[in-house]
């Protein structure tokens, strides 16, 4: 039997997804379709609902309504089966700080049912690609932000999931580590897997994504290929045009600057 995703060509399909926290509606019924093999970006200002949406798509937060299909599996009808086909890197790397980097990746692999020798081999290879081999025996508690992000990415990739979700994967990461992550993700997508990542760094999204969705106040305000969403402008300009920018009154800062008295 062929995979349902192969039948539809969609890796991620979201319909009417919504979530409220008390009176505040965090996600107001979003629809999203990401084709298999896409490198998709979900962008939006702070508090737009990116993390809440990704949490619901990955089975971490129960939605108030809507449907999420990942690789042909309904996430909320069978969360366990859906989790087996996805990898998740949350915005705040949720790792076991008291394991070393090597132990952490081996642990993640073994939890996924990978045989122990294979888990160790994959762990070593991922640490190498992620430029963490020299720090493999150090506790994750002593890792920098960038190293933690890379370790979290390793944990999410060790079982070779067809779909990978990343929430702000490059936040607080230095340019060298960011480049390592970008290259690994590009290679991952090149093999036919799908990546959906949230960010508010437009340059990065524009550089790597072939599909972009813009979310604002819990709603998708634009979605399509990167070129469609940009509409001949830079993504930054298109984004500002869609979600607006706060005008500032600079009169009050007349004292600021070297030439001011």
């Amino acid at each position: 039997m062929s995979e349902p995703s192969e039948q539809s060509g969609l890796a991620i399909s979201v319909h009417g997804l919504r979530k409220s926290f008390g009176a505040k509606q965090a996600v107001a019924g979003i629809d999203l379709e990401i084709a298999a093999g896409s490198f998709a970006g979900l962008v939006g200002p702070n508090g737009a609902g990116k993390t809440t949406s990704l949490s619901m798509m990955t089975g971490l937060l129960r939605p108030d309504g809507g449907q999420v299909i990942v690789h042909g599996l309904d996430v909320w009808a069978d969360p366990a089966a859906a989790k087996a086909v996805m990898g998740v890197v949350p915005s705040e790397a949720r790792l076991f700080d008291r394991l070393s980097g090597a132990e952490l990746l081996e642990y993640a692999g073994r939890l996924r049912g990978i045989p122990v020798t294979e888990a160790r081999a994959r762990s070593a290879q991922l640490l190498d690609v992620l430029d963490l081999t020299a720090d493999a025996k150090r506790l994750v508690a002593d890792y920098s932000t960038g190293m933690r992000k890379k370790a979290a990415l390793g944990c999410a990739l060790i079982h070779n999931p067809p779909v990978l979700f990343l929430d702000e994967p490059l936040e607080g990461v230095d340019p060298v580590s960011a480049d390592v992550i970008r290259r690994l993700l590009t290679r991952f997508v090149g093999s036919g897997s799908t990546v959906l990542f949230s960010s508010h760094v437009m340059e990065t999204v524009e550089l790597v994504c072939d599909h972009v969705s813009i979310i604002d106040q819990g709603r998708i305000v634009a979605t399509g290929t990167t070129d469609q969403v940009r509409g001949g402008k830079t993504l930054q300009e298109a984004f500002i045009a869609l979600v607006g920018s706060k005008a500032t009154d600079e009169e009050d800062l007349s004292w600021l600057g070297s030439l001011s008295s």
């Binding site: 990955t58 971490l60 939890l111």
Partner: protein
């Protein structure tokens, strides 16, 4: 600078007070305790007047206060923003005014004030005459100054370390002696005092050492002046001032260094490159391996096991050498399971956000059952030998080593039931845990105190209730020959404990599968 830093300290205190209802309650409780300490210490020191060894007893109290100043900042580093010089390193401040300001900030607040008021009880307890009272006031001021300078020297010297992972790890261990001291005072001192074993001679012996330490010097100076030895008294005070100046000088040097350096002790730290244990035992072994590593590497876990041991010993210490020694042994054994349950009755919250990594891999009910079993195995591997060794040690201390064989079944059943109940509580009462600044042990997040309370009550009362059949079996089989009784009780207890842990584990796993998203949210909300 001093005024500004005192204002900063007061602002930090008032902001903390406004931050939440919990903070308000903590502040009120803390201030009430400070007031009690002030009044209690004042009355205690004043009541020593006319006693058999007022100087020696007062010197003990002064020394205890100095140790308090030394230890408490290690545990509460981070609670007081003025304790960390790095927070002020960005500003163009010279070291001496900064040092004066930090000293003044340290002296600001309810607890320093309570110290001064309490210790002034010495003006009644030891001081005689106007000169004696005047010197007593001066000596109390110097004692408090000494305490503050000493605490500052230690915290500044360790500031870089205390900001690091290794430093906070080490600070967590300070809880163990503090808890043991508390239990010792709560369990041992009242009994020794009631039996008349704490006498003036006890304090006189201690004072032979304490009189050479700064707190003892301060008290003896008051006594000297009060008994007409003005020169000796003033000489002692001069020595005390010299010690404070020396500590102050060392502190300023340390402060200069701390402002421009960081702790690098963990930069080169590495663990042994051995693979995770139980490599061929599936998810059960994988989880057990991770849990075992955490029990060894995470200071909070070590602190918890140490507290289990302290509680087991402290609960039995008052009756272990009496004819009711077997009761002490049984209580101690039951508490092993009760405390195990209490400390592990929230594994999702206590694992924290990293649990989501595990949850993402638990893709079947069988996997969740294996997870719970792995956790139980790891905890059992530590709990069983710990409880058994302590039970036999206590039995030997009681003078009845064979009684350890009667405590053993209760130990094992209590541990099994402790694991069983903690598995169920972890799923049904799951709550986010928060490691607040200054506290090495995580507590329930705001708004979740009731779940933590239910878990505590359910642990301490649930374990003895559920293992009642084993306790009854131990008590009702006294007439059975030992050769039959001991193995039969052991087999019954092991079977009982294993059945409880296994059955409850399966039940907890079924519950967990149904509420995995909620458990994930609990884990994500935890701040450890």
């Amino acid at each position: 600078m001093a005024r500004l830093l005192v204002q900063l300290k007061l602002r930090l205190l008032t902001n903390a007070l406004r931050s939440s209802r919990r903070a308000k309650v903590s502040f009120i409780v803390s201030t009430a305790f400070a007031a009690l300490l002030a009044i209690g210490t004042f009355l205690l020191l004043a009541a020593l007047r006319g006693g058999s060894a007022p100087v020696a007893q007062t010197a003990s109290v002064f020394t205890v206060f100095a140790f308090g100043w030394l230890l408490v900042p290690l545990v509460s580093f981070g609670l007081d923003g003025t304790l960390d010089p790095a927070a002020l390193a960005l500003y163009p401040l010279r070291t001496r005014p900064l040092a004066t300001g930090l000293l003044a900030a340290s002296a600001t607040g309810a607890w320093p004030l309570a110290n001064v008021i309490g210790l002034l009880g010495v003006t009644i307890g030891v001081a005689r005459g106007a000169a004696g009272v005047a010197v007593a006031i001066l000596a109390v001021a110097l004692e408090v100054l000494f305490c503050i300078a000493l605490a500052r020297l230690v915290t500044t010297g360790l500031a870089g370390l205390l900001r690091s992972r290794r430093g906070t790890d080490l600070a967590a261990f300070a809880v163990i002696p503090l808890f043991a001291l508390y239990e010792g005072f709560a369990q041992v001192v009242p009994r020794l005092a009631a039996e008349g074993k704490i006498t003036a001679a006890t304090f006189a012996d201690i004072d032979r050492w304490l009189r050479w330490l700064p707190p003892g010097i301060a008290v003896h100076a008051i006594h000297d002046v009060s008994t007409g030895h003005l020169g000796t008294g003033l000489t002692r005070l001069a020595v005390l001032v010299a010690i404070i100046v020396a500590i102050g000088w060392l502190w300023i040097r340390s402060l200069r260094h701390a402002l421009v350096s960081v702790d690098v002790s963990t930069q080169a730290a590495a663990v042994r490159g051995r693979p995770l244990p139980f490599g061929r035992a599936g998810i059960r072994g994988t989880v057990a391996g991770r849990y075992l590593i955490y029990q060894r590497r995470e200071p909070t876990s070590i602190v918890r096991w140490a507290i289990v041991a302290v509680v087991m010993v402290a609960a039995s210490v008052s009756t272990i050498r009496t004819p009711a020694y077997h009761v002490a042994l049984f209580i101690s054994a039951v508490l092993a399971g009760g405390m195990l349950c209490l400390f592990n009755g929230n594994w999702v919250g206590l694992t924290g956000s990293a649990f989501t990594l595990e949850a993402s891999a638990l893709t079947s009910g069988r996997a969740v059952r294996a997870y719970v079993a792995g956790r139980n195995i790891a905890l059992g591997i530590i709990a069983v030998p710990l409880a058994v060794i302590l039970s036999f040690a206590l039995a030997a201390f009681a003078g009845h080593p064979a009684a350890g064989f009667l405590a053993l079944p209760i130990d094992l059943a209590a541990i099994g039931v402790g694991l069983a109940l903690s598995s169920l509580y972890s799923v049904s009462l799951a709550y986010p845990a928060v490691k607040r600044v200054g506290s090495p042990i995580p507590n329930a997040a705001d708004g979740h105190g009731s779940q933590a309370f239910l878990c505590a009550i359910g642990s301490l009362f649930g374990v003895p209730i559920v293992i009642a059949p084993v306790i009854l079996a131990v008590n009702l089989t006294g007439s059975v020959p030992r050769a039959v009784r001991f193995p039969a009780l052991l087999a019954f207890a092991v079977g009982y404990g294993l059945a409880a842990a296994w059955g409850a584990g399966r039940w907890a796993a079924a519950l967990a599968v149904a509420k995995m998203p909620e458990l994930n949210q609990v884990a994500i909300s935890s701040r450890l």
